[in-house]
């Protein structure tokens, strides 16, 4: 092994051995503009002192792209979702519009309250799953694959109808055990780098993790247009990426683990405005 490679391996091991404090630069914020843009948590036992949308952690150039609906390439997917909404699909010859008519009216608030409890399935379902339930049960159409352009577009279009409304998932009743499961996952260290969601998004938001300026990891803007991928990215794909980035084995999109995490993360953003389709790095 060359000396440089040996040095790399030692550095890797040092981080993996739990020296997470070394890896996270304690330089203080170099983008102080995010401060002062938080909303108050709903109660004093909340795990964050303030709730701040990921919007405020990005540069002004990135925020400018989100501020202008024309300029925001995420809207191509929203428009595609709008077209699919009225397009009949499946053996029943129906479209979404056949039952739900005008999405702006019927879908208002729906995206802000996801995931929601399903009595039929005895578990929470998120927006992607609900879309596919409608497709298979009401439209007799084949469900769309997770990550497909159609499913992401429709998820974005439906959630867009809640834009500006406060995130407000129900976490009581049958959701309580899923909420606890999500909370447990959020604080569990993962992967070779041994980091939990909380390591970055609760203890170090507003600081740099190598080249990355950390946000609170809120989900109010999803599906988001990522500058990196230059397309809309659904939430479970991003969470999959987070676990991959700490060199862990990601849960599968739409798995129970990610559903529980989605519920818990949505709760951590209680009151934030839905920003779908947000623009992030």
């Amino acid at each position: 092994m060359s000396p440089r490679l040996a040095l790399c391996a030692m550095v890797l091991l040092a981080i993996a051995a739990g020296a997470a404090g070394v890896a996270l630069a304690q330089n203080g914020p170099d983008r102080p503009h995010w401060q002062g843009h938080g909303i108050k948590p709903p109660d004093k036992n909340f795990p964050l002192p303030e709730i701040v949308s990921g919007y405020w952690f990005r540069t002004k150039e990135t925020r400018a792209i989100q501020d202008d609906d024309f300029n925001n390439p995420g809207f191509f997917a929203v428009e595609q979702g709008e077209q699919l909404w009225s397009k009949p699909d499946g053996a029943a010859g129906k479209s979404c519009a056949s039952c739900h008519q005008d999405a702006a009216a019927s879908m208002k608030g729906v995206g802000a309250a996801m995931p929601k409890w399903s009595d039929a399935l005895h578990k929470p379902v998120n927006l992607e799953q609900q879309i596919n339930i409608c497709r298979s049960e009401r439209m007799q159409a084949a469900p769309w694959k997770f990550g497909s352009a159609e499913l992401t577009a429709m998820t974005a279009f439906v959630r867009f109808q809640s834009r500006g409304l406060p995130v407000a998932p129900r976490v009581d009743g049958p959701m309580a055990s899923w909420f606890e499961k999500g909370k447990q996952l959020y604080y569990t260290r993962n992967g070779q780098l041994d980091l939990a969601c909380a390591s970055c998004h609760e203890r170090n938001y507003g600081r740099n993790l190598r080249a990355d300026f950390l946000s609170q990891g809120q989900s109010n803007g999803f599906p988001v247009y990522r500058l990196r991928d230059q397309r809309l990215v659904p939430l479970h794909e991003r969470m999959e990426g987070c676990i991959f980035d700490v060199r862990g084995i990601p849960y599968a999109p739409l798995s129970d683990e990610f559903l529980a995490l989605e519920l818990y993360v949505a709760w951590r953003g209680t009151g934030l405005p839905v920003e779908t389709p947000a623009v992030r790095n």
């Binding site: 440089r4 190598r210 790095n281």
Partner: protein, 150 residues
Amino acid sequence: MSRRLNRREALNVGVGAFAAGLASAAGPARALNDYAGEIKKFTGGKTPVEGRVKLELPELAENGNTVPLSVAVDGLAGEGAHVQEILVVAPANPNARVIRFRFSALSVPEASTRIRLAATQDVIAVAKLSDGTFFSASRQIKVTIGGCGG
């Protein structure tokens, strides 16, 4: 961008990234392309005069895949010459040429777009005027790779 690497591949990518990071401490992270040759082709061998071109880029790229860029040329009012073209080159990209804007006599000599930059570098814009003169500007932009954003 495929993310479905197995564990060993992921480790290799990680080590490679560290090695590249260490290499960059000693010098430029990437070999430069033939941007000087591209500029020469554009100007027919003339050396552009620095000035008059305004090149706007963020100081730090949020992500190298989508970087807003604006170019403008100042101080031409009433001169008779107008801007014909502006070439943008990125010396540390895989390919030097980024975009070539073409203007008409109706144009206000300004344009904006979004570009991809592979590494920290000095991006250069060269303007060709209708009287055969060339002007240029360069602007450094930091492009970082790594951290959990990927």
